[in-house]
């Protein structure tokens, strides 16, 4: 399927070497991660280095699940992050639209506060969050983490959606109003479809932020059944030893859902962009 409208121009020959260099810089650590994950314990610390294991083994991939409750970690991360992303996306899309189209008391303050809230070092927010979740009985629970992650991502997601809605001409709203649509109907039938690429980007951001979050998940969860994936990986960094092969295997596991999620949305992103271009 040809998508000429998505590309800006022709490719300069210099672009290819540039891209190849960039890809090499990206893939080198990834390759090393894979190589380490496939190594046996005795092959990890060799001098001279083994670029690729002599006897590649999936032992680390297995022991990650056998020795640790990794299935639980993955399940928790999935549940928490998917829910938090969905809620955050909904709230921030609504808010972004409201901010871009309407004037109301407190609008300026709210906008300013969206930025302000990003500026407090997260390290210090842990204690207040701890106290809040404790009073609500949400400590050591997925719901508690969902609430926490929603609060993290809403400010920036709202900013993203606000910016995106501002790029959608108000004339469309006015045209819909002339056609007799109320605000809500305008939003859902006219504006929202156009906002989909922005929503996709926002969703991806929210998902990745939640998926990778470490510090709060560590402090706000106690039991193995509630811990998320990054916390599980962090536990492989024992003070007494770093199990590099298991660590890398776990990291690879943690990246796969993100890749799947992104690949899935990537196609959607393109098709909606194409549709948008054709429409205009």
């Amino acid at each position: 399927m040809s998508k000429p409208s998505a590309a800006i121009g022709g490719a300069h020959p210099l672009f290819y070497p540039l891209l190849l260099v960039a890809c090499a810089i990206v893939l080198l650590p990834v390759f090393w991660m894979l190589s380490t994950a496939l190594k046996d314990e005795t092959e990890l610390f060799r001098d001279p280095l083994l670029l690729w294991p002599e006897k590649p083994t999936l032992a680390a991939f297995r022991s990650v699940f056998e020795d640790y409750p990794f299935a639980a970690y993955i399940r928790n991360s999935l549940v928490v992050v998917v829910c938090a992303t969905a809620i955050s996306l909904t709230f921030s899309t609504l808010a972004g639209y409201g901010l871009s189209r309407f004037r109301f008391g407190g609008r300026g303050a709210f906008l300013a506060f969206l930025l302000l809230s990003q500026m407090f070092p997260s390290v210090m927010l842990i204690i207040p969050y701890f106290k809040i979740l404790k009073s609500a009985g949400l400590l050591d629970s997925r719901l508690g983490l969902i609430v926490t992650y929603v609060s993290f991502t809403i400010p920036f997601c709202t900013w993203m959606m606000y910016g995106y809605f501002r790029s959608i001409p108000v004339e469309l709203d006015e045209a819909a109003a002339i056609d007799g649509c109320g605000s809500v109907r305008t939003f859902f039938t006219v504006i929202l479809p156009l906002a989909l690429p922005g929503m996709v980007a926002t969703a991806v951001y929210a998902f990745i932020t939640g998926w990778n979050e470490y510090l709060f998940a560590l402090i706000l969860t106690n039991s193995e059944e509630q811990k998320t994936l990054p916390v599980g990986i962090g536990q492989l960094i024992g003070q007494y030893r770093i199990e590099w092969n298991e660590l890398m295997a776990a990291s690879i596991y943690s990246t796969i859902p993100l890749m799947v999620f992104f690949l899935f949305l990537q196609r959607y992103l393109i098709s909606s962009l194409t549709a948008g271009a054709v429409k205009s």
Binding site: L49, L99, F120, P155, G234, S280
Partner: protein
């Protein structure tokens, strides 16, 4: 048009029912997000600021000390130095993201063959948890078992094993590098989205005016990207100013204090010395710095007003 109508009192604050209804609608759209933020952002912030006025372990000791910790921190050369290091770190990392991200976005927005494959690969760093990125880079920089020394030695660039992370300058370079590697895809994606929303006719117009590829970039792409990148720069700077994980896991702020970003300072004060009041004061100072930056940035690079 207004001549014929009688002079009306200035309707300063009074709004027509329609405007009031619109205002209510707007409020309705915004209220879920507002509610979440009031509960989960305002309260923690307020609590954090409250704590900074006490010498406390949050359990059984609450001694009011007022602004003591603020004064002490601002006159502590160690803290000031960490602020400087953090600012330098944030500037270099965000700058790196911008350069790499925009450059790659421009390339990927053209009709490159296998564009999707390249894009998929170039997104990868973003998909790894910071925990993992920090550790894989630390492993790569390891003096004896690290990939970097191995590669450099095989091509003969170095002869002995270099302890990169032991050297103050190189350790700083390493954490900046790891952060750039990890974070550029976000800027790249934002730039890509921005580029793809620039109407094509502007490029055609510029081409007709005789602008070459670089000219088109400078006069069409960059201005078109400005709104989205403008927001990104502020947020990126603030994020990386507050950054903790990658530096902590790679160098713990060392060697000595060469990479001692302010979050590490705060973390140590709170969770190793259990001096929560002092740590909160340091965090509030960081808050004001970020606010000041945001205001200053907005003054210098005004965004299009809605």
């Amino acid at each position: 048009m207004s001549d014929a109508s009688p002079p009306l009192p200035p309707p300063a604050r009074k709004r027509s029912p329609a405007a009031a209804a619109r205002s209510r609608t707007g409020f309705a759209f915004v209220s879920p997000a507002m509610l979440v933020m009031a509960l989960l952002v305002v309260y923690p912030l307020a609590y954090g600021i409250y704590i900074s006025l006490f010498r406390t372990n949050l359990l059984n000791r609450w001694d009011f000390v007022g602004l003591t910790f603020f004064v002490q921190s601002l006159s502590d050369p160690g803290f000031l130095r960490s602020l400087f290091i953090t600012a330098l770190y944030a500037i270099l990392v965000v700058g790196g993201h911008l350069i790499v991200g925009v450059a790659l976005a421009v390339v990927l927005a053209t009709q490159i063959r296998m564009r999707l494959l390249f894009r998929a690969i170039l997104i990868l760093p973003w998909l790894f948890p910071e925990v993992v990125v920090a550790l894989i880079f630390r492993w790569i920089f390891d003096p004896i078992f690290g990939l970097l020394n191995h590669l450099l030695r095989s091509v003969g660039l170095i002869s002995t094993q270099v302890a990169w992370l032991d050297d103050p300058t190189w350790a700083f370079v390493a954490v900046v590098g790891a952060a750039i590697w990890k974070g550029y895809p976000l800027v790249m994606l934002l730039a890509l989205a921005g580029l793809q929303s620039i109407p094509r006719d502007r490029y055609e117009a510029a081409a007709l005016d005789g602008a070459g590829r670089f000219g088109q970039f400078r006069y069409v792409s960059l201005p078109g990207l400005a709104p989205i990148l403008g927001v990104a720069v502020i947020l990126e700077f603030v994020w990386w100013f507050k950054h903790f994980t990658i530096v902590w896991l790679m160098t713990k702020g060392g060697p000595v204090d060469a990479t001692n970003v302010v979050s590490i300072d705060i973390y140590r004060t709170a969770f190793q010395s259990f001096d929560f009041g002092r740590a909160s004061a340091m965090a509030v100072i960081v808050l004001f710095i970020c606010i000041a930056f945001a205001i200053a940035y907005r003054r210098m690079v005004p965004d299009e007003q809605a």
